[in-house]
Symmetry: C2
Subunit: 233 residues, 2 copies
Amino acid sequence: MIPKGKIILFPCPIVEGKTESLSAESIRFLHQTTFFMVEKAKTARHFIKSTKHPVPIPQLIIHEITENKKEDESFLAHTLNGEDVGVISEAGCPGIADPGSEIVDWAHRNGVKVMPLVGPSSIFMALMASGLNGQNFAFNGYLSNKKPLLIQELKALELKNQKSGQTQIFMETPYRNIFMIESCIESLQNHTRLCIACDINGETEDIRQKTIKEWKKEKFDHFHKRPCIYLIG
Amino acid sequence: MIPKGKIILFPCPIVEGKTESLSAESIRFLHQTTFFMVEKAKTARHFIKSTKHPVPIPQLIIHEITENKKEDESFLAHTLNGEDVGVISEAGCPGIADPGSEIVDWAHRNGVKVMPLVGPSSIFMALMASGLNGQNFAFNGYLSNKKPLLIQELKALELKNQKSGQTQIFMETPYRNIFMIESCIESLQNHTRLCIACDINGETEDIRQKTIKEWKKEKFDHFHKRPCIYLIG
């Protein structure tokens, strides 16, 4: 019997083309892998090429993750035939605020080894750089884009933080940053701390943590359309 | 006026001496830094040396993070004089289940830029490799080591997960792994999924996600005294 292949989880740069943010180990394994399941084939090819993969890109077997479970599982079956399959999402770590967890779940149900590799995660880098509680934290994904509901959700996160000290992390689509910051200022208490982590790992990285009282005195137009992670503590 | 220095957050390997798990960017910045605030001077020196830092180790200025806020802040004042100060914890990312957040908080209150770098985090690697929900998750640190209280806490985490789908992550000291796994099996429901991520990033890495019903059929003595992260989904 051929030994089974592995599912290898390859984080990719948050800042396009920044291979310097990858671990040497991750690049080494990437260069040994020729089967990939990816969020988007075009950007994945671009990323793999940027790492100087020794195999010509057209010779790699790249499968886009579909909504069709059967198709995905039939590709995953390569691992049962001894091939390693690499998983790559659009930016950061597969399976964390990104597709990938269904593939990994399949691996566990089929006795296929899963190997996570080290790489960039904007959520983790934001948390590290926030100065907020890193012993107890929660990531909540995207909140509502409807103002009344958003305000309810923000107040609920603030209350959770006050009760347990748990740092509350969430995201917003870049073009709604000003809406999000205004909503925070409107709905959170003066002494609550808000960290905005903008353009993480980029040249223009800008990470600030202030109380709501202090944010009220700031201008924040410059956050418009830039990727931000939010943390309440 | 001299421009202020930065606080640079350097993750370090989870597996001792494994510099291959660091990003090239992180090593580049490490080699430009000569002032450090660290959890433990001895291991930090050992780590810095393993990266082939161009400055002889005895010439680096290394300050152990104390419980004495004044001493720490007087060292941090180097940033006000234009020096970058690197922060290094024992393993993984400073400020995440590790010391560092007070330093970063000081930086934000003093207008000092904070720069997080890419590196290993056992919590994030465990989450990626768990196949559980990575859109909504919480890290809860250590739970109680008293059985009745631990069982209450485990049931509460399970209930939270059932209500919101939020993956619940926690740790245990290696010599209590068997106690923890037995407590999970005793207190959680048959269909609840438990991931045990053991020796992450090491040669003997072993990450398994199963339902409690399946765990009941397994032997788990081999987890004894090995570092594990637990996830309920």
